[in-house]
Amino acid sequence: MGKAFDPILIIEFLPTLIKYLGVTLEIVFFSMIFGTIIGIIVALPKLFHIPIVRQIVTLYISFIRGTPILIQLFLVYYGLPALLSIWNIDITRMDALYFVIITYSLSHGAIFAEIFRGAIQAIDIGQTEAAYSIGMKPLQSFFRIVLPQAIRIAFPNMANSIIGSLKDTSLAFTIGVMDMMGRGETLISSTAHALEVYISLSIVYYVIVLVFEKIFKISERYFNRYQPHGISSI
């Protein structure tokens, strides 16, 4: 079980680990962007009741919500090369980081789609009717009236799932990604001070989560500026 516990090491490991924070944030950032795009595309068939596509989308969302991110990661890691090899595309040598970003984007896409749909459906139909009554067209009404209000409702949930994804990046090392956690694992094999490494990692994750929470709280206040009582979530 390693060597004797040495609390000083917790501090000493911090700079080494923080150097790899960039990779962690890269995963969060790209999967958030792609996840949002996927989420919007996937929300549409359910909102507009498009047959068949709607069923496929429902199945996709159900699967993502029904399985651990770790399993999704393995499925993409082993499954995507197999799938693409059918068309003779070889991605077996692709950097593991891309598999992680693909997995997390797909995962976010499903979660975001549900958040968007819920938020849009939470807007009173009266808002749309009022928009039509002053002569707006459906698209105008959607983008100018419904969407801005929906974003306010969706925001706290999106913030939550982004923080969740930040914590989930700690699993990327399982397919060999050199992020903070991956670097931690190599530190463990070279120093045999596992406990100190994990405590050190916990501190970094905790601080980053606190910073994210702070940023989200400030943005939430901005989104709610025209709400008299500052309703922060539904």
Binding site: P68, L70, L75, G79, K167, T174
Partner: protein, 235 residues
Amino acid sequence: MTIDYSFIWVAFKEILKAVPLTLVLTFVPIVIGFLIGLAVALIRAYNIKFLSQIANFYVSFFRGTPAIMHIMVIYFGFPILLDYLIKVFNLPFQSNNVPIVLFVITALTLTAGSYLSEIIRSGISSVSKGQIEAAYTIGMNTFQVVKRIVLPQALAQSVPNITNLIIGFLHTTSIAFLVSQKEITGAANIVASKNLKFLEAFIAAGIIYWVITLIIEALLYFMEKKAKSYSRNAF
């Protein structure tokens, strides 16, 4: 590279044996964590001196760090702590006699407690202040108000969130495979490595998780409907 469909079925049958452990790792922490969450939520709601500061940090830290850290820190830290206590008090056993699964359950219980406390707390704050005052004006004491007025409504309010948490925890247990637990993911990993058929094994594991998720959701949906029966019109 091709998929060996028949091996999915082979793996499926093998992994199925790991379902009980996954369910234990899911529900034991949720049940014990519920008690922790309840205590912590009340400590915070009633702002009990000193304890509430500890409670705040506990909730914030455990919710702010990945569950894998909780497992790893306890997996590596507990034996060190235990060995230290054994040495100090001269106790007649060894830390490596403690099964790893207990460390995992301890860690996940603390994780669950922090999330549940937050859920229960938001349930508590959903009970209107007026009802609490009304309870005081008919002469109830604080304990009676908490037990009879606040908690029943707070918990009914919490059911959907607890449902989500249970599903989340079912999935979180997958990381226990990293400390070589033979739950669903661990079992899949073993079958996969033995036969070098990773994709097939993880497809089987994915299907099993998916089905369990759907079953739990369906069960909890019915419970939820029952718990909310007093507010048929309000929602």
